[in-house]
Symmetry: C2
Subunit: 765 residues, 2 copies
């Protein structure tokens, strides 16, 4: 019953009789109408289903990078399928990705220490993608941390976090990451005022000593890193600065930052004072800050800065004197200052007002050029007259927040928090065009490339902050609800509700998927966090254990289905550094690595070298294994770390075995392997008889299968050598290893065959 022959036999059957049969056999069973009736679907629901459902193997047109809020991560999902593709670890350790567990990523997280303290979370709010001429180009992603002012850089070639920089002067931020039209700078604006220095200042000195600020982080695109040595900040009044945006086109060179609590109110409800929420929303208007950042950059280069905490800051008096900083009143407590695609206007919606205000940059520029000011704020900053700067104001609803642009001219969408609606309107004519209910209480909005020079229209996502009753209940802590809306027609149409299972997104950015070109593997022996060859890399056959400077370095490899070395024995107290290189070339052949009781999981994708350094502090036996289900034999991808008590001699090489094998065992195994090879040959024949070279995926599979067959040949050779010496125990085991490589080859071959069958490959002429 369990003869090897049957394995080969069924393999033959599989390669001949299956293929598309599995699909074709499943008939068009049960009418669509029956299903709709049973599930209570309307015609409109069905249309929405057709607009979002993505069949197996299908691709999404847009990819969304969403902040993860206080989870400290970035969430990636597809539009229109609304399927979440990845959570990228940024400020919070995450073991599946090995982030914060391998030495290389620990070094990235360590960059985020503040005043010597490790911060193991972040409150991510606003992602920004690198831009070229005001359009997102899909090279890098930036994301901020509101709680502990920091900025992170993610490379969209491998979706990994590469850098974290700490803001040297802020104690709170919100208005980042915003990217200048050619990615020269990434902007970060403070939120709650605090002294720019690190010391204690009593609240009685709030007006004099507490400050806001905006930081311009210089981005070195070639290195793919922010350059703190070329970055600078601008001191701002102790208003609560908020969201920001860069100008473009006619407004290029300027940046905009809005604010709330320009009342400079300090709460204290515990002492009977009205709370912050009352005192911070009393005035009808707050201020949008306008900064000429190009001139600011020149001032920085000219040294017109003051060093605070070792960081160059352009002080307010300098900014006023040099004419680079202005204020304009804005409807109170706004959330978003959103520059139009052509850069001629920006729109601000005050969430305690009912209006969206369209500001004209041309009018603003003329006022500035004419030095036509309505006054100065208490810090001497010129204030422009609100009415003189406005193009128009439009009543859009209760609690308007954030604006996103359509590909259609003059069309903008505004999120309405209190009404739980989206308002579509024309910012040229000031006319409201449509409203749609959302569930519930939207914060930010996101249209496809909706904050760039060339929005792509088609879809809008309402990033709702409360789900309440929209999904199956999962306890007191609810998911949020991202709702997909079709904006291709005159009227908005709700398409899909997507629960957010982890974190609380604030803003998100969508990009055409075709702009992204992620890698499927690294160059062999790659340090992915530093983007260079790892000094710890090794190749198959060159694995070694080397003691150096008191550290035992293990240069190991990972491949389906074994870890080299399989046994590591060290002495109690020894410092050990493991370095594993995944030597696979196949796509999606990631290996993991965990050791019992050493708090480590590595994620080692094809080509990557990842390290883990630890002290073998307690004697014992610690199994290790591959944590990814990487092949049928993944459970056997294992090993032992042995920690000898101090002074105990190393055990000799001998291990005790439960089984030994004879010539009969060897002959049986060889017979099986020969039969299996026949089957593999038939699969190879099937593939090579077809135009497989026309299919990139299949070429990669054939390459992988060839690798496995070469490994099989090596094992075969070893087996034959032992057999020639009459060592049938080792001969049998190596013959089994040869068979294991055959199984891997067959697995890959069958996958290639299925792919060819499903993609209409034809027989070569």
């Amino acid at each position: 019953m369990m003869k090897k022959k049957s394995f080969a036999k069924i393999l033959t059957t599989a390669t001949i009789s299956l293929g598309l049969a599995g699909w074709a056999a499943s008939a068009w069973a049960g009418s669509l109408e029956d299903v709709m009736k049973a599930r209570g679907l309307t015609q409109k629901d069905l249309l929405a289903a057709a607009k979002t459902y993505t069949p197996t193997g299908g691709r999404d047109e847009f990819l969304v990078f969403s902040s993860g809020g206080q989870s400290g991560q970035v969430m990636v999902y597809g539009i229109p399928s609304m399927r979440i593709l990845k959570y990228i670890a940024v400020f919070t350790p995450e073991p599946w990705q090995g982030y914060g567990f391998d030495d290389e990523s620990k070094a990235v997280l360590a960059q985020g220490k503040i005043k010597g303290k490790t911060i193991n979370f972040g409150d991510t709010h606003h992602p920004g993608i690198t831009e070229t001429n005001g359009d997102t180009d899909g090279e890098f992603l930036f994301i901020n941390d509101k709680a502990n002012p920091r900025m992170a850089v993610i490379d969209l070639k491998d979706f990994e976090t590469k850098q974290i920089v700490v803001n040297p002067i802020m104690k709170s931020e919100h208005g980042g990451a915003f990217v200048s039209p050619n990615s020269d700078y990434v902007m970060e604006a403070s939120q709650y005022p605090a002294p720019l220095e690190n010391g204690y200042v009593p609240l009685s000195k709030f007006n004099e000593k507490y400050r806001g600020a905006v930081t311009y982080w210089k981005f070195d695109r070639k290195k793919g890193r922010l350059d703190p040595s070329k970055s600078f900040s601008l001191e701002l009044p102790p208003y609560s600065q908020d969201l920001s945006d860069f100008g473009k086109g006619p407004s290029d060179g300027w940046s905009f930052t809005n604010s709330f609590c320009t009342e400079r109110y300090i709460g204290g409800i515990e002492k009977g004072r009205p709370p912050f929420e009352a005192g911070c929303s009393q005035k009808d208007t707050d201020f949008v800050h306008m900064v000429n950042w190009k001139k600011a950059a020149e001032l920085f280069k000219a040294g017109k800065t003051t060093m605070i905490n070792g960081h160059p800051v352009i002080m307010m008096d300098t900014a006023v004197k040099e004419g680079i900083l202005f204020l304009i009143p804005e409807p109170k407590s706004p959330h978003g200052v959103d520059v139009t695609p052509d850069g001629k206007f920006f729109i601000i919606a005050g969430k305690l007002d009912t209006h969206a205000s369209v500001y004209s940059f041309a009018k603003i520029k003329a006022l500035i050029d004419a030095k036509d000011y309505a006054g100065k704020d208490p810090y001497g900053i010129p204030i422009l007259d609100l009415k003189k700067t406005l193009h128009t104001q439009v009543q859009v609803g209760l609690g308007p927040l954030h604006n996103q642009y359509d590909s259609k001219e003059c069309i903008v969408y505004t999120s309405i928090y209190v009404d739980s609606q989206i308002t579509k309107w024309n910012y040229c004519t000031g006319k409201v065009l449509d409203k749609i209910n959302i569930h519930y209480n939207v914060g930010h909005l996101m249209a496809m490339e909706g904050d760039t020079a060339h929005p792509k229209g088609k879809y809008l996502v309402s990033l709702n902050k409360l789900a309440i009753d929209r999904f199956n209940p999962v306890g007191p802590l609810h998911p949020q609800n991202h709702q997909l809306i079709d904006i291709s027609g005159d009227k908005m149409q709700l398409l899909y509700d997507m629960p957010v299972p982890l974190g609380e997104p604030h803003y998100a950015v969508a990009i055409q998927a075709s702009k992204l070109k992620p890698k499927v593997r690294y160059k062999l022996g790659w340090n992915s966090r530093e983007d260079k060859k790892s000094i710890w890399r090794t190749r198959p056959g060159r694995e070694k254990i080397v003691k150096k400077d008191g550290v035992t370095h293990v240069y190991g490899t990972l491949i389906r289905s074994h870890i080299t070395p399989e046994i590591i024995e060290v002495e109690e107290g020894e410092k050990v550094s493991l370095h594993f290189t995944n030597v696979e070339r196949a796509q999606d052949e990631t290996h993991g690595f965990a050791i019992n009781n050493f708090n480590v999981n590595l994620s080692v994708e094809p080509g990557k070298t990842a390290s883990f350094t630890f002290t073998a502090d307690k004697p014992g036996v610690y199994p290790y294994y591959c944590t990814e289900f990487c092949s049928a034999l993944h459970l056997e991808m294992q090993g032992y770390l042995l920690v000898r008590p101090k002074g105990v001699k190393a055990s000799d090489a001998a291990v005790s075995e439960g089984q030994t094998y004879t010539k009969a065992d060897y002959d049986k195994q060889i017979k099986n392997n020969v039969a299996t090879q026949g089957v593999i040959d038939s699969v190879v024949g099937y593939i090579t008889a077809r135009n497989f070279k026309s299919f990139k995926s299949v070429v990669a599979l054939v390459e992988d299968a060839t690798d496995q067959l070469n490994f099989a040949a090596d094992a075969k050779k070893k087996s034959e050598e032992f057999a020639a010496k009459g060592d049938y125990n080792n001969a049998t085991l190596w013959a089994q290893q040869w068979f294991q490589y055959q199984v891997k080859t067959a697995d890959i071959g069958l996958r290639a065959k299925t792919y060819l069958d499903e993609h209409g490959a034809v027989v070569n002429k």
Copy 2:
């Protein structure tokens, strides 16, 4: 333009003209056929879309609890929508949930320390739900950690992790969590053999000193906790034990655990030895272990155990002597031993064989009763004859792994790794019925309650381990692919591909959603991790700061939109313990809490009390705020922690303010509030004129709105008192606070109105 009047005006308009209009207006635009053509959908795709698409507000029929693999979490998603609803933090800290950040959950994670070491990740594999009479009841969920043998308990009332227990004797495990038919015990089986004691033992003593084991954790359902003092283990041979299952019906009282590497092979490829994968798969068969756990529990109670690391273990010789442990050969390297719903059979598929083997419990029992053994293993354990125990063996494919049962009699589904297929077959007749291709390389399978006494049929999920080319590329590390399959008909039909964005699930369990009864809030002042009133709870108006035993305890509250206290001033070096109670009653009104540079985020759901203890080690100004977007004024839900340098005197209560208000400001605010109240009254009138009491959600909203109006009345009273004293500054601010409560009331009222409109509320007669 920004007059308060307009706010009231548009609110009136909103309440009158909107409602269902937003929906009804969006016409049936664009024909279904056009959409299908544009998106390349077939009729079959559309049917699949109709079977899975879930419109806004719709519910899923089943909820899935999936292991998160090396992410250390549990993923929850719905079927058929395949939308992920929540990631539950279990072994890995997760800041969105405050897990590992608040004192209460830190205490849970601290239970998981091993030999004094903090382990900040887990490799979760197999979740199990509590059972009653062999059917899942939805009360609690258990999940194991393979890397660091531990077991966690999640309460499905609030989807929170309540307990972690450390296995005292294992160094590696895999075969957990499996639950006995009435949840008396949760089973955990070891994987890679190791000494049960913690010391070093060289591999040369593998056969004598290395051991496997199975632990039976006693579950106290009333307390909702595992009870280590009533738990015990059984020593097993140094085979690599694997998956397990409990018997039920006729096989109740028995448990089954399969294994691989009964060859007891030790690798060492670095020294030229064939690797583990070769030596561990040489024999044609491994062993399934059968344990009479009811008798084992009696032996434990009778004290027939040996204490190892302080834990009672029934040694193998005792088990053999008492007749509670038997072995049966099984096709080599299996992955799953799956008891049929009626408990009469169990099925094992050896992944290096092509067969699934159906074992008859009746035959096994007869052999045991007759003491009809085929031999003994090297440890003296009786072995039954394979052929005599079999009901049948069926060729199911290349690399069969795991079995799940249908609601239809005798129907079972087996995952086929190498073929990348699912095989449907009849285990009574031994006939193969259908095969379907999956993409790619399935591990476990999951049918709806497919491992219980009463499977629910309908759907099957193929938990594929590789996604390769099925989704938009997101770098070298790919998501996995869970494929939903319709099993309601004779032929299986593929419905949906769901990418897994985080972690690598192994096994998952599905349960009818109707069995789950999660809470929407906690009792006021609740310690959710200990399931009792928190000693740190407080109520609105009773907030206080108390020094005790050298610790400054802050008893605070959180509510839309302020934190009490808003200012906390302490001295450098002071130990501070913050305790916040969320005093909301509304559903989904969670508040967060983060302080700059103190590595904390709390998630405080309605009713919960959460704490954070820290040392104010560095003088400075540290803003804190609510990290959840909880209302329109969420940005204003803020405060300051001030840390004075040692020896510096406390600053006086005075704070500097940027603004003061006059009687004119007061009058203006009052006028606005009176107008707003008129609008609120009209909304209240709209709601109360309808049968709102028939809608549970609306009753809850009205309750919440009433709370907000009561708060408004309090603020109004304060405002009037200050006005009477001629203090128009404070009178204006409290009037603003009164308005803020009005806005919250309006928000809730509009939500209630929308709900009534959408759910066909009628006017009262």
